[in-house]
């Protein structure tokens, strides 16, 4: 019963973070929510008894892609600041 509640909460959190990530007006908020979504997805993979995929998702999906997106947001903000000067 408690595992059912955990799975249900995980599913709701996945959908909610994905929705908020797509609807966030600030790009930085969207990227942070994307990283949160990646970590919750890693939890979902472990609940599905797939630990290899969970490891790969946490490292590549949340970690590397999140770092690349944060780099992009910083680059875009720098370009925005330079064009305003």
């Amino acid at each position: 019963m408690s595992s059912l509640i955990l799975d249900l909460l995980l599913a709701i959190a996945l959908l909610w973070s994905a929705l908020r990530s797509l609807m966030a007006p600030d790009l930085f908020h969207a990227v942070v929510l994307f990283i949160v979504f990646g970590l919750l997805m890693a939890l979902a993979w472990s609940r599905l008894h797939a630990p290899d995929i969970a490891l790969a998702e946490a490292a590549i999906g949340a970690g590397l892609t999140g770092a690349l997106l944060l780099d992009t947001v910083g680059y875009l903000r720098k370009k925005q600041r330079e064009s305003l000067l």
Partner: protein
Amino acid sequence: MKDLFNALVIVLSATLGLVLIWVILELPPPARIRLPEQVLAQLDASGVTHPVTAVLLNFRGYDTLLEVMVLLLALLGVLAQIGKRKQKDLLAGFRLSRPHLQVLLWLARVLVPLMVLVAGYLLWVGGHQPGGAFQAGAVLAAAGVLLNLSGILPSWTEPAWNLRAGLVAGLLVFLLAAAAVMAIASPGLLLQYPPPSAGMLILLIEAGLTLSLGLILAGLFLFLSGDATEDEAEK
């Protein structure tokens, strides 16, 4: 007009999602083929004791070979985009008197050797527990990204010969192992490892893959984190 379009897209996506859920619930029970039992029955001949590693590196080794090629192609795509970039050496902008940056530098210097150790462990334990080459390569890439973000490792520009050798080493080791097996043990059959030496071959291929994947995945970040020159910005 744009709101109407957005609403239409949301409605269509929700309909698609609900139809997919309904279809999956309506599917007949699975047929007689039980894949986990079949994999476990052949596990002794594969050379490792973890079914996921056996499937990835032995039964479907061809797919893993193509996957490494795809990752290398992705990195080549990134390399084609960067042109000539200046190296962004983050450490040049730091003032070491700020306490939280000192913590970052200390943490990077302590964590990265541990991460290399964890990567080696994941590579070894992939034979009998969850782990393997891709996970170890991802940990190595994360170590590289951490070193770059704390300023210890400058961003990569045009790759030198040793970086190029490291990037293709995994693929070359995989291809050499496949060619050797095809020439010596099982002529005419691609990637059919002889069961006595399958474990050693898989470990060798995974070691090469770990090094290459770490460099490729780190390169996806490190080649792009340099400062763009003026020509890049105008494109």
